[in-house]
């Protein structure tokens, strides 16, 4: 896998994992009926992962806490070399399944552009809008703190 394709894949996997399920479901529905069939290499399963962090991004690694995670691996029936991985936060098995299937389709040469335009781009646009709406809401209540120099 080249560096560029790895970057692309990281990007779409992040979009799929952070998407809201009803929207993902809706956009996935737009892909039509002729989707390739798939089977599970690893059916959706719920588990715990330890989230680790570094204070300030540079310090010693420490365990931040555990979070629930659902994972799934799907394989396209006609192209068994293509496997899609879905790792999503929370307990939604359907979300993990759709993320895995979309990841597999995005690696399929006949489907990649369609899934990009029908699923990834709308989801990304929505995420962007939601981020902007939230930040403008927060911006309206911003409070600035000033510290004064103590007079000597």
């Amino acid at each position: 896998m080249t560096v560029q394709s790895q970057v692309d894949r990281q990007h779409w996997m992040a979009v799929l994992a952070k998407a809201v399920l009803p929207q993902l479901e809706q956009h996935y529905g737009h892909l039509g009926q002729q989707l390739p069939t798939y089977q599970f290499l690893r059916s959706p399963e719920i588990g715990l992962v330890m989230v680790r962090g570094r204070s300030g991004g540079t310090g010693q690694r420490f365990n931040l806490g555990e979070m629930t995670l659902t994972r799934c691996v799907a394989q396209l029936t006609d192209q068994s070399a293509i496997t899609g991985f879905g790792y999503v936060a929370g307990r939604s098995q359907r979300h993990a399944e759709l993320a895995a299937v979309c990841d597999a389709l995005l690696q399929h040469p006949d489907w990649t552009s369609k899934v990009q335009s029908e699923v990834i781009e709308p989801l990304e646009m929505f995420a962007q809008q939601r981020r902007e709406a939230e930040s403008s809401q927060v911006e309206a209540t911003r409070v600035n703190f000033f510290t004064m120099m103590r007079g000597e």
Binding site: Q39, F40, L41, R42, S43, Q75, S80, A81, T83
Partner: protein, 191 residues
Amino acid sequence: MIQEPGFTNPVQAAQQTFRALLVALANPGKIETLKVDIHPPEGLSRSCGAACLTLLDLETRLWLQPSINQNIQDWLVFHAGCRLVSQPALADFAVILDSQELPSLDTFCWGTPEDPETSTTVLIQLERLTGGTVKQLRGPGILETRSLSVPMPNQFWADWQLNHQSYPLGVDSYCFAENHLVGLPRSVEVH
């Protein structure tokens, strides 16, 4: 990466397999039949594949016979998440697909007098479980004697004498073929 799926129904299949493995070890030399839906990669029998997925997890160390192909190795690591070790003596489980090339049993871990349960469990896959030299088994779990004719090399039975005599130390083993399995715990005496 071409992979075969694991258990179709992981919870029930793993429980049924574990039960069969327990029953097999409690009744040494009695052939058990496993009815679980699994399609392991080429070269691995259904019962051996099911036992591997049931027994192995993130914390177990696995030694594979060096002749085992990459496809089987990838399948085991993907579905079980086990760690591979290069020395049989470090392994919790060992998988043998070619019984003729089975290393001597004393190369595996036999446990320590304080922790005899830390020994290696040896999983041996065979073509079939009958047709070899008939052996008489005695020991816990067997009322009088039980006859068994698994086609194992003579060296294995020679090693087994020492393995049995070193009780409580020693290895436990299973033999697999197609969807059948038979357990040979270290407590069993073979004539």
